[in-house]
């Protein structure tokens, strides 16, 4: 029995069922990945819905990023489930009072939507490939083209309409998918650290900054590898949005934190001990990872920084934000469980390295989308427009 689970050390009094953590590092990775989807899709909609031209160079790549990560959103949950073979029960008999029951249909709908959006945006390329290739490759592209090679002006007009409509539906879709993840935690009155009305909003806005940050890092990395120049206007646009959403996120997080402390409900001493104790490292990483980018971005926007300094400043900020948001997910998911429901004790979670719910599996689930993204960029080159423009 002992090897099946880890008994967490604790101080004070915790309920005897709390020494085994129900949700581990996989459930930290899960909202992190959905957040990256919501964030990168948001950037893609800036161009495809709102027509913000400066985001054009990354818009198509942002969509592929969202799709790559979305494919892996269900995986941490499936690894976590005691009976993954019964996962579809949530589709056959979704319990309408359960936030979690929404996941199957919402995620299914959203994956479908992202695939359709990708199909439409790259349709000209798909048709061209279907005509230029032979064999299996040709079959693949032909299926994607629905057996049609119609790229007449009339057909393209339809495509543009669908692209806009899908992006328009996808926007609330992405945000519902991630707001829902926040609700899964925020709606639980049993856990003081989670039970906050602001939780879905915090999840959402932090998702957007993590997604933008990921795009910045990928854009800079790809430009280095493919040796094309970064688009200055696009980088500035990313800096502005990152700055805006970062402030929004920090204000929400601060409000939530102040509310918790100010209300000072029963067991507030234990909450303070959590902050100073088991969660101190995580909270400090989140704080430093948020404040440094805020300062850097503020200075760059004030000084209208351009070119290489902008690239360096933005890349550093993005990297720190990626870490800060991961820490935030940890602090919510793990922190909530380290604070005992008795409000009289604290536990310390030690993530197992191996095993179904270990760090290795969680890291693999996070890294896998990058390989899929690489494969997708081979099938649907997103850079043609961007690299020409630069």
């Amino acid at each position: 029995m002992q090897e099946l689970y880890h008994v967490a050390p604790y101080t004070g009094y915790v309920y005897p069922n709390e020494t085994v953590f129900p949700w581990g590092v996989l459930i930290v990775i899960y909202p992190y990945i959905t957040g990256l989807v919501a964030g990168s899709f948001t950037v893609s909609t800036f161009y495809h819905v709102f027509g913000m031209k400066r985001f054009e160079p990354v818009a198509r790549f942002a969509l592929l990023t969202a799709l790559s990560f979305m494919i892996f959103v269900p995986t941490p949950l499936l690894f976590h489930l005691g009976h993954p073979e019964r996962a579809l029960n949530a589709l056959w008999t979704p319990h309408l009072t359960s936030a979690m029951a929404a996941f199957g249909y919402t995620a299914g709908f959203y994956i479908l939507l992202l695939m359709l959006e990708t199909g439409f945006i790259f349709r000209q390329h798909i048709v061209a490939r279907a005509q230029a290739t032979t064999g299996v490759v040709r079959g693949f592209y032909r299926i994607l083209a629905f057996g049609s090679d119609d790229v007449s002006e009339n057909a393209l007009a339809y495509d543009r309409k669908w692209i806009r409509a899908l992006a328009l539906i996808g926007m609330p879709g992405a945000h519902i998918l991630h707001g829902y993840a926040g609700f899964v935690f925020g709606s639980l009155k049993a856990r003081e650290w989670w039970a906050s009305d602001l939780m879905p909003a915090i999840f959402l806005s932090s998702a957007v900054i993590s997604g933008i940050a990921l795009l910045v890092l990928l854009y800079v990395a790809v430009a280095k590898v493919r040796k094309f120049a970064l688009d200055n206007e696009c980088m500035r646009g990313l800096a502005y949005t990152l700055f805006g959403f970062l402030i929004f996120t920090l204000v929400l997080e601060l409000l939530e934190f102040v509310n918790l402390i100010y209300k000072g409900r029963e067991g507030i001493e234990t909450v303070m001990a959590l902050i100073a104790g088991p969660l101190a490292l995580g909270l400090n990483i989140q704080l430093v990872g948020s404040v440094i980018p805020l300062v850097v971005l503020t200075v760059m926007i004030w000084r209208k920084t351009q070119g290489t300094p902008l690239v360096v400043g933005l890349t550093v900020s993005a990297a720190l934000i990626m870490i800060a948001v991961l820490a935030m997910r940890w602090n919510v998911v793990i922190g909530g469980q380290e604070l005992s429901k008795t409000m009289k004790g604290l536990l310390t979670y030690h993530a197992p390295i191996w095993g179904r719910e270990g760090i290795v599996v969680a890291a693999s689930v996070f890294i896998a989308p990058f390989f899929v993204l690489w494969a997708l960029t081979r099938l649907f080159p997103p850079w043609d427009a961007g690299s020409q423009r630069a």
Partner: protein, 275 residues
């Protein structure tokens, strides 16, 4: 040439489409037939068993903490009766000990799963409170038996994504172990820490009030073995039942009333620090 390939491809697609439709209609018909069948079966006789009608009972549970001697026979009997794993982290009921030492304003609390108590018992399959306070100056001390509160508005049922946990008509909150997906959302949602995850079966586990016993006219195992009547069980629909008497004759309270879960386990003799 190009046109020809095109035609076959679309022909295949139409065929696949038809196949899909056939499957859908067949499925829908089958589902409808099943619906009819289950309507018929539920109409006949009492439910859930031939001798027991769940609409004729409404169970309730009482805990008299002033009587509990902390012998933990309830924990042992519960595990044996329900085949719960033998280690200290899997259980369906537990007992807490609250001890106020002189000069301290907060109690020291422990339960059967405390490492020192496991050591005193000899193994995780035996249950005993050690005597760590025998030489201490104790101001006030008592034991509190705990179990699932079988709430009127159970958080665990609310959050279960698939309907694997539910409240029966006679008041018990049960788990369908063959339907649970093992997400542990219910473990998170329960404010009372009453659910554990069964790592052997990979499903969540909880107190059923020994549903297989109470539907046969027996008491739950924990109530059956309690040597001091600290645990009381009975039918709230029966004015002469032990639980109705317990509620009538005492000023009872429930744990964490602020959650709105409305437990149907009623306590007497507990202290403000018990939650």
């Amino acid at each position: 040439m190009k046109n020809k390939t095109h035609k076959t491809a679309s022909g295949r697609r139409v065929f696949l489409g038809k196949l899909g439709k056939v499957a859908v209609y067949a499925g829908a018909l089958l589902g409808a037939a099943r619906g009819l069948a289950k309507g018929e079966s539920s109409a006949a006789g009492s439910f859930p068993t031939a001798d027991y009608d769940w609409t004729k009972h409404r169970w309730g549970y009482g805990v008299d903490a002033t009587r509990c001697i902390g012998c933990l026979r309830c924990v042992e009997a519960c595990k044996i009766e329900n085949g719960v794993s033998n280690d200290a982290h899997h259980f369906r009921t537990w007992v807490e000990r609250y001890v106020y030492l002189k000069g301290e304003d907060k109690p020291r609390i422990d339960s059967h799963s405390d490492p020192q108590n496991i050591a005193a018992a000899g193994s995780q399959g035996e249950y005993r409170f050690d005597n760590r306070y025998k030489d201490a100056e104790v101001e006030k001390a008592f034991f509190v038996p705990k179990l699932c509160n079988h709430c009127e508005h159970p958080s665990c049922v609310q959050v279960c994504p698939v309907g694997a946990t539910f409240k029966t008509k006679d008041g018990a909150v049960l788990i369908d172990h063959t339907y649970c997906i093992g997400c542990q959302y219910c473990v998170q949602a329960c404010p009372y820490g009453a659910r554990t995850f069964n790592y052997e079966q990979q499903v969540t586990d909880k107190c059923t009030w020994c549903y297989h016993r109470i539907t046969k006219g027996l008491q739950p195992a924990c109530v059956e073995v309690c040597p001091v009547n600290a645990r009381i069980f009975g039918d709230l629909m029966d004015p002469g039942s032990a639980i109705r008497k317990f509620i009538r004759e005492n000023r009872v309270q429930v744990l964490k009333p602020e959650t709105g879960n409305a437990p149907t386990c009623f306590y007497i003799g507990i202290d403000k620090e018990v939650s």
